[in-house]
């Protein structure tokens, strides 16, 4: 593996903040007896990652930034009354939620209803343990961190089901059933798509995948465009974000599984939804956009700045889709998963595996061939998507989107082939 250009373990070297935390732990180890440093180490990681980064980002990007950006997309200002440019809005929101009465329906399953928001928070914190902010800036650098991430991030599906089920409300039940059906289905193409990445890089470790991208000077989004598209759609589905927010479905179910939640119980769901979206953005940025690496520039500029920048850019994609796209129906969503995403993910895996075998056995892992593979894969993605869609009967040119125009009032005007056939 290529090592960073300037390696130093001085605590003031801000290119790698783990030096600072190590320094603190050393001092603690010297001052306190026994195992104190071991106990303190995860807490320090939690403070560094969650309290200093995730929580402020969540408040300011997730609550304020998202509302501001969507506001601009909708030609309005967004929150701008609390403080200058609405900077106090997240705090005002939190204060409002904390002081609101948390209602519980009479026939609700109270234990599960109270438990669900609490359980919802835990995975949102846990997934951050394996996200690499820099070459060394990672709380738990376990060798199979991708598997860990996928395992932990599928817990919320169950928690949402618990929440929806416990209300004894039909709308919540709809939301709960929908999330189970959707969450389980979309996990399959998601894992299949990420398997392609794993086959290509030969690593299950998120940090290893970043090192690979750094070593070959290419981002996996260029090498695996199809996997990226599938990943993005599946992650949107897992996170319940438009266009696939059918479990919440504001206009149909009146927020689905959240219908009966109020006060801070709702606030926990809302806040942690954003934390999950941030974590998913972190995963996407790590796997497909080179994580903390930036073509060698990370030796000079702090690598975690690149990572955070990429994370925000990825999160912007979520905001953008939310502000633009309508929602799919549940049956269309399931059909899309099993008829389009799953076969395409299999095709992708097949192509990647072939390339990998050719590359390592026939070409001795020559670096330059990665770029040829990238070009081939971009082409293959376009061809595959178009062919598969047409194979399944998708014909956009047959759709009529403009109405007919007539000059005189009369009766029924039959649809003739000349005037266009509606689909």
């Amino acid at each position: 593996m290529k090592q960073p250009f300037l390696v130093s373990d001085k605590w003031y070297d801000i290119r790698d903040l783990s030096n600072l935390s190590n320094e603190i732990l050393h001092q603690v180890d010297r001052a306190l007896p026994g195992e104190a440093a071991y106990i303190l180490s995860p807490l320090l990681g939690f403070v560094f990652v969650f309290l200093l980064f995730v929580l402020p980002t969540q408040l300011y990007l997730g609550v304020l930034g998202e509302r501001k950006i969507i506001g601009r997309m909708q030609s309005r200002y967004g929150p701008n009354r609390t403080g200058k440019f609405g900077v106090l809005q997240p705090i005002a929101d939190a204060a409002k939620l904390l002081t609101k009465e948390a209602l519980t329906p009479r026939y609700a399953d109270k234990t599960i209803m109270y438990l669900a928001p609490v359980l919802f928070v835990m995975p949102a914190v846990m997934v951050w343990a394996v996200i690499p902010f820099g070459p060394e800036m990672i709380i738990a650098d376990i060798p199979n961190s991708l598997v860990y991430y996928l395992a932990v991030s599928s817990v919320p599906t169950l928690v949402i089901f618990m929440g929806g089920w416990s209300h004894n409300n039909k709308y919540s039940l709809f939301g709960a059933i929908r999330i189970v059906a959707m969450g389980v289905s979309y996990e399959v193409p998601l894992v299949m798509a990420l398997l392609g990445v794993v086959v290509m890089t030969g690593s299950l470790s998120l940090n290893g995948i970043v090192f690979w991208q750094d070593a070959f000077d290419i981002w996996l989004v260029a090498l695996q465009p199809l996997a990226f598209a599938i990943f993005f759609i599946c992650v949107s589905a897992e996170l319940n974000r438009t266009p696939v927010d059918i479990a919440e479905a504001e206009s149909e179910l009146g927020s689905g599984y959240l219908t009966e939640y109020s006060g801070m119980k709702w606030g926990l769901f809302y806040g942690m939804d954003i934390a999950y979206a941030l974590a998913a953005s972190a995963l996407g940025a790590t796997i497909f956009f080179g994580g903390w690496s930036f073509f060698g520039l990370q030796d000079w500029v702090p690598s975690w700045l690149f990572f955070i920048g990429k994370l925000y850019a990825f999160y912007f994609l979520f905001i953008w889709t939310r502000g633009t796209l309508p929602r799919l129906r549940i049956d269309q969503l399931m059909a899309f998963c099993w008829k389009y995403l799953f076969p395409l993910a299999l095709f992708n895996l097949f192509i990647v595996a072939t390339e990998r075998v050719i590359w390592t056995d026939g070409l001795d892992g020559e670096k330059g061939f990665v770029y040829i593979f990238a070009a081939a894969n971009i082409l293959a993605t376009i061809v595959l998507v178009v062919t598969w869609a047409r194979f399944l009967g998708y014909r956009p040119e047959n759709q009529t989107t403009k109405p007919r125009l007539v000059n005189e009032a009369g009766g029924y005007v039959p649809v003739t082939p000349a005037s266009g056939e509606g689909r």
Binding site: I70, G254, T324, L328, Q399, T400, T401, V406, G411, Y412
Partner: protein
């Protein structure tokens, strides 16, 4: 357990639901996600306007008509005053007619903005199209404020003409407002008409065959979406609509998408009509003098206009008294709603919401 036995259950969509556009309830029996029966429950907003109108003079009734369909008060005013004028045999000067056309078409623009926006909101496009529509609708409401002093319940039409002449600078402001609309419609077209998700959600959903539409006596965009060329402005012109050059947009299959696209195209046609009306705005008085305590001769009259939601009719019976003996409204949303069951049964709950949005109901008009 060999098979999983499901049983249908009833889900109340409304009266408090984000997508019922007011206090309206669909009592839907669902089998999983599929709707197998739908029953409409209405009357939550009943204010007995038709009965109250029998106690007030003809002029005093005009504000009531604002409050039936509160999204198109100008069209409602117009329908009512046309009925009274027919009953009493009053002529309206040319300028009054032209101003009425301008206002009614502006009202159609504002109302269709709301209809299209709320419909896209129902399909799940998270507030973006509706906000764009509101941006333009606000400008129309500003025009109404400029002329009549009110934005929503304008109370602008009078028996024999309109309440006030157009204010100074109206024409300029109106042209400026109109200039924004083609851009908005193109934006909506670009964002939604080519959007696969939107097409998948609306095409083939809530199909109304031409037979169903005529049997249920539907009117307006609902009827035209099913491919029937019927528009009161063409079939039975009033206020001099025969002088203006415009076309009737009609759909292909009668599904939700057709109703949406018909509304978009109608907005383009309305822009065309207003531009023509502004170009040839005649001079002269805006209203004829009508006695305050109007006592029309014995008889009955029915006048209809093409409101944004369909045929908006007013039926009046006079017994030579100062107030109508019978006052009846033909509300287009109420009659258009009667086809809801046929359209929703067999679809999913999500489809039912889209279908309800495509009807474009105003509950104030349904319950009156």
């Amino acid at each position: 357990m060999s098979t999983i036995q499901g049983e249908p259950f009833i889900i109340n969509i409304g009266p408090q639901h984000p997508s019922t556009h007011g206090v309206f309830r669909i009592k839907a029996t669902v089998d999983g996600e599929r709707v197998i029966d739908a029953e409409m429950v209405m009357g939550y907003l009943h204010r007995s306007m038709e009965k109250l109108a029998e106690e007030r003079t003809y002029t005093q009734n005009i504000p009531f008509t604002d409050r039936t369909d509160y999204l198109s008060s100008m069209s409602n005013n117009l329908g009512y005053v046309l009925a009274v004028e027919k009953l009493a045999g009053i002529d309206v000067p040319d300028r009054g007619q032209a101003i009425r056309v301008i206002m009614a078409e502006f009202q159609r623009l504002a109302s269709h903005c709301m209809a299209v926006g709320a419909f896209t909101n129902d399909t799940g496009a998270w507030q973006t199209p509706i906000m764009w529509c509101f941006r333009e609708r606000e400008k129309v409401l500003d025009l109404f404020e400029m002329t009549s002093g009110a934005r929503l319940t304008c109370n602008y039409m009078r028996i024999g003409g309109v309440a006030f002449d157009l204010p100074k600078g109206f024409e300029e402001a109106a042209r400026k407002t109109l200039a924004g609309f083609p851009q908005l419609i193109d934006e909506l077209d670009a964002m939604l008409s080519g959007n696969e998700i939107f097409l998948a959600r609306t095409k083939g959903v809530g199909v109304l065959t031409p037979e169903m539409a005529t049997n249920a006596s539907l009117t307006g965009p609902m009827l035209r979406g099913s491919g029937i060329a019927w528009d009161i402005r063409k079939a039975d012109p009033y206020c001099g609509y025969e002088q203006y050059d415009f076309q009737i947009p009609i759909g292909y299959n009668g599904d939700s998408y057709d109703r949406f696209s018909v509304r978009l195209e109608e907005m383009r046609q309305s822009v065309k009509i207003i531009q023509q009306a502004l170009d040839r705005l005649p001079g002269g008085p805006h209203s004829t003098q009508v006695p305050l305590a109007l006592r029309p001769p014995k008889g009955e009259a029915y006048a209809r206009v093409e409101g944004p939601r369909g045929e908006l009719g007013y039926y009046l019976v006079s017994d030579e008294g100062p107030s109508p003996f019978r006052f009846h409204i033909r509300p287009p949303s109420f009659i258009n709603l009667s086809a809801l069951k046929e359209m929703t049964v067999g679809g999913t709950v999500a489809d039912a919401i889209v279908v309800l949005g495509s009807i474009d109901i105003v509950v104030g008009e349904i319950d009156r």
